[in-house]
Structure formats: C-alpha cells, structure tokens
Point group: D2
Chain length 185, copies 4
C-alpha cells in the first residue's frame, strides 16, 4: 500500500505540517510507503473553467493529480478556516475533480486537523468530508483533531502527552488496517 500525505497549508510554520509529520512517521513505522508532499508543490491558480479550456490543467494541479493517482490512499491534515475547510484545499479538489479519469475515485483516506483553538479544527474536517466522499473517497470514520496545538506539541514537533500520542497511533493503525483491506486485490 502506498499513501500520499500532506498538510493543507501553505504556511511554513504550520501546525498541520507538524501533525502530518507525526502521522507519516507512524505509517512508515508500520511498513507503509508514504509520499509526503509539501502543499506548496501543488500551488495552482484559482479554478477557472475558461483557463482550463485555453491552457489545460496548471502544473501544480497535474502534479497533485499524478501523485493521488500513484497512491492507494490519502492522509490530509487540514486547518479549519472560518468554520469550514480552507479555500486553498477546496480549490485543489475542484481542479482535480475535472481530470479524466478522476484520480480521487476509489481511493481511501484519513483526516487530521491541528488548531490553536479549543475546538480543534473538527468542523473544517466535517466540511472537507463532503467533497472527498462525493468524489468517491472512502474515509476512515475516525478523525484526529488536535486542539490548542501550540501547547500540545513540543519544540521538536512531538506530542507532549503520551495518551494523545497513543490515541494518534491507534487511529493511524485503524486507518492502515482499513486501507490495507480496501486495497487488497
């Protein structure tokens, strides 16, 4: 099984980059090959059907499409912006959704969120499930939301609370188990 993983944030000091690193480390320890991408690799203009007609897909979108296509599943750690998913991530999904064949169909996935607030970004993840599932991604029902992430992570980007680390570890394992079953021939 091969996975594509990224934090849906362009910011260099993003808490979601730290969280995706932890999830990827756990997946690799479990023997899974992970393509850990930088969301900046997928920089693309705002979706515009006219632009698509005149110039085709932008390079960042094609790169994202290719890397989704090469994977069995996705791990995404996404911030919550304004009680929903980030426009940047939705824009990337909108571009990819126009590709034929559409690379998201048939993939599986697991969602995480890190947030400086008490709520932990979970509302953004619920909004994000809709386009992903609508496009045919089977999502792990459990999601990992890290509230007050600045205090929860130490300087080296590790979770301070062993129980929280244990919870993340169990959830990643749960996803890998589901993913392996779904990706079996």
């Amino acid at each position: 099984m091969k996975l594509l993983a990224f934090a849906a944030s362009l910011r260099r000091e993003s808490l979601n980059r730290q969280l995706i690193n932890l999830a990827v480390e756990l997946a690799r320890q479990d023997g899974v090959e992970v393509d850990l991408a930088d969301f900046r690799d997928f920089y693309m203009p705002l979706y515009d059907a006219d632009l698509q007609s005149s110039e085709g897909f932008p390079e960042g979108a094609r790169d994202l499409g290719r890397r989704i296509d090469a994977a069995d599943g996705l791990i995404i750690s996404s911030p919550e912006y304004n009680y929903s998913m980030p426009g940047t991530l939705k824009n990337a999904i909108d571009w990819v959704s126009r590709m034929k064949p559409m690379p998201l169909r048939g993939k599986h996935g697991f969602l995480l969120a890190a947030s400086p607030s008490l709520v932990g970004g979970i509302r953004g993840l619920w909004a994000l499930r809709v386009p992903l599932e609508g496009l045919g991604v089977t999502l792990q029902p459990d999601m990992f939301a890290l509230a007050q992430a600045q205090q929860a992570l130490d300087d080296s980007g590790r979770l301070k609370d062993p129980q929280m680390q244990e919870r993340l570890s169990k959830m990643v394992k749960g996803y890998l188990e589901m993913g392996r079953k779904l990706s079996a021939a």
Copy 2:
C-alpha cells in the same frame, strides 16, 4: 440601502452571471443601489498566512473588502462545485476574514445558485452559509436555486418560465424587506 452583488465564478459565460443580473435588475427596480461586481475584479492568490505577513493583503482581496465595507448587504450567485461551495469563493472569504475590522460582520445577504444539473446548486449554498454566518452575516433563509439553468434561461439571459421569474421576484423582494429593516437606524 446599498448592496454588493456578484456571481462567484471566473468564467465569462457563467450561468451564475446571468442569474445575478436578473436579481440585480429586480433590486434596482425596487430602488436599491447595487454595486454589481465582476468576480474577476477580486482575483487574488491562494490564502497564505506567510504571504499576508510579508506583503499584506493582495489588491483583489482589498478591493473586495472595501466594496463589502461600503455595502449594507450582499447578493451572491454561486455555482456548486463538488457538493460544496467553490474553492475560489471560500478563498476570497478566507482572505477577507483576516481583515480588521472584518468587513462581513453585521452585513446581511441573499444567496442564489444556477446549475446545469437537476439539483440546482442548493447543496453548495448550504455549505456557503456556514462561513458567512460564522463571520456574522445575517442571511435571508430563502435561497433561489435554478436547476437545469441552460434550459431555464433564454438567449438574452431571461427566465423563460413566468412562474420562475415571479418566484425570483418574490424572493428578492423578501430579502430587500429584511435588509431594509436590518439596515434601519
């Protein structure tokens, strides 16, 4: 009362541009001043907190913020992309939400959608309500969703069915009544 109106589509032949024109015409006939904007005026990069720190708000976002600020309310006609709102529109909301004072707070609004499909874009509007209401916009509960818009509109961009035109007219009037009350001193 002054309103800002736009179709949340960059495409020139957008069905939502035709629909917003109809709504704006009705509002102007009712004596309301409407700033009808082209979403291309608000072209802006993907939201990136680092970019905001280094360069401030992009010109398209500042223009959108200024024009929201100058209005009492908003009329937005938005396509549905992948069972949710377009990433482009959410990206614009994400930029504006970082401005201080935040121009959306205290505004009122009315949402429309045109769609080539049978469902009419209404799911996208329900998703769009969340960030707008979360940011303090009082939205008219009724929304106008035009299904199979290509067949519903004639070559000059008018609704073929007089009952549909009547329905749109009533909804716009309902919004203007709500808006005038909320904007009263």
Copy 3:
C-alpha cells in the same frame, strides 16, 4: 416583541435548562415578554404520516405549534447528540413543519448550547440551523456555546466567569436588536 424559549432536552437536570434560564432572564430584563416552555410540554410520538392522517397532530405538537405561532421569535438551547441535533428536537420540527399555515415561517431565532465536553455543542447547532432556516426562520448568526458547562455554572445555575456572562449578555442583546428590527411593522 414576544419570544418562545425552551431547552431542547427532556432531562430534568439538563444543563441546557440552566442556560436557557440565563438567556430568558436577560431578555426579560430588556423588557421582552418571554414564554419559557418546558420541552416536556411538547412530548409527542415519533413522526408518522399515517398517524397524522388517522389522528391528526398530537397534542404536544399542537401546543408547540400554537406557542410558536403566538411568538415573534424563538430562543432554543439545545444539546448536541452524536455530532448533530437531538432526534427529539428534529422530530418536533418535523411535526410542526406539516402544519398549515406553518408556524415557523417568518419567525426569527437565536440558538445556544450547553455541553459537558470541550467542544460546547456548536456542531449540533450548525446542524439545527438547516431545518430551521429551510423552514423560513431568520437566525441570528452568532450562537452561544457553553463548553464544560458543569464547571462553568455554579450551584444556583449562574455563570461563574463574569466575562462569559458579559458575552452571553451581548449576544442576547444582539439578538433582541435584530428581532425588534425584523418584527417592526
């Protein structure tokens, strides 16, 4: 202006009953007449179109319909059950939605939630907005969610933290201002 207020919980020791009491007290101090109902008054069977055909509306639903009808707006404090609104409250809305004329149309409203958890019941309120707005209720965009309500309320059911009380007070005032404008002739 007259308001109907209730906590959407059948439980006697409900945290939402305590929270609705605080909101009602603030509204009354502001000179508003409030019909504070006990959700047990509205006890009704599960919605069943066959039952409606054979026996008409159950007494609890009729009482709810009458009291909504007699009010200009609604204040509801609702628990979150399973990341959404309680089935009990949705069942009451389903019954009322079949009445003609439908009493919710044209009303305004304000939503609160108390929760023992860290998240505060806000996801349940976002789910609750959908049927209410779909049925024509203009909802105050701001919502008051009280997380860890057991610790936040003292033995006499008052908020321990003066800042939290101030926040509730401001939100209630904001709603009353909106409601008065919308209810003006």
Copy 4:
C-alpha cells in the same frame, strides 16, 4: 457477510420501503444474508436520559441494537425531512449510541433515499452521514437518491427505467465489494 436493512419511515406506503426492497433483492441475489427489518419494529419513545436511568433502554431500541450487533453492515433508505434526516431516525441513533458496547462502531453501511421531489433526498443523506460516521460506521461514499420516486417506480415497486436499475445494481455491488473486504478476517 450479514446485513441489516430498513427504510427509515413508519409510513406503510413509504417510497423508501419500496426502494429498500429493491436494494435487498440485489444483495440477496449476490449471496448476502439480509435481515430486512420494518422500522415499526424499532418503535421507541423520544430519547430522555432520565427515562434511560429509571427504566433502561426501551424494547424497540434494544431490538435495533441487537440486530445491528448481529450484522456486519447496514443498508438504510431514508426520507429527507426538512433538508435533513428524519427526527425518528436520529432518535433511534441517539438511543443506540448510549449502549455499551455501542453496536454501530466498526460496522459499514450504504445509504439510499427516495423522494417525491426533484432533489431526491440527498441532502437528508448528507446530514445522516454525520452521526453514523461520528459513531464509527464506514460509509460507502456513493449514495443512491431516487428523485420523483412515485413516477420512477411502477405498481409492483420496480424501477421503470432500466438504466436506473442498472445504476442501483452497480452501487449495491460496489457496496457489497467494500463490505466484504472490510468484513474479511
């Protein structure tokens, strides 16, 4: 693999009862054992924590819990009430969610909707996904929504349009494939 199937409607002439019959027939043809339940078997009072404390779980809820527990997955055909899931179904989920061990956790599922309207009940299903996934059910991303169901079904409850039947058949097969993989040891 064993499945529990039901239409989430108490009404005897429910369109969703006809639709669940079609889905169950397809699953049985594929060799799956299906417990086809009548939602009236699960009649229960409104959820009330005090009632649960004093009298325990009502018989209808216990029956639902036992039959979920005995199944690997669920097929539910649900009407849409007021742009969301029926209160009746949410009430059943709320009761079941309090059981220990909680029978929904680890199950998989597939959702359908029949509706007399043009929209097909799909908004209700999106709302229904939230509590089910939140409680640990892995849902097939594809959902089958039958719009204008009265015209789409003939007197014997079969789909008139062979393409629609083919689409339903493919979706059921897709779910059974997913379910078999997830239920494999």
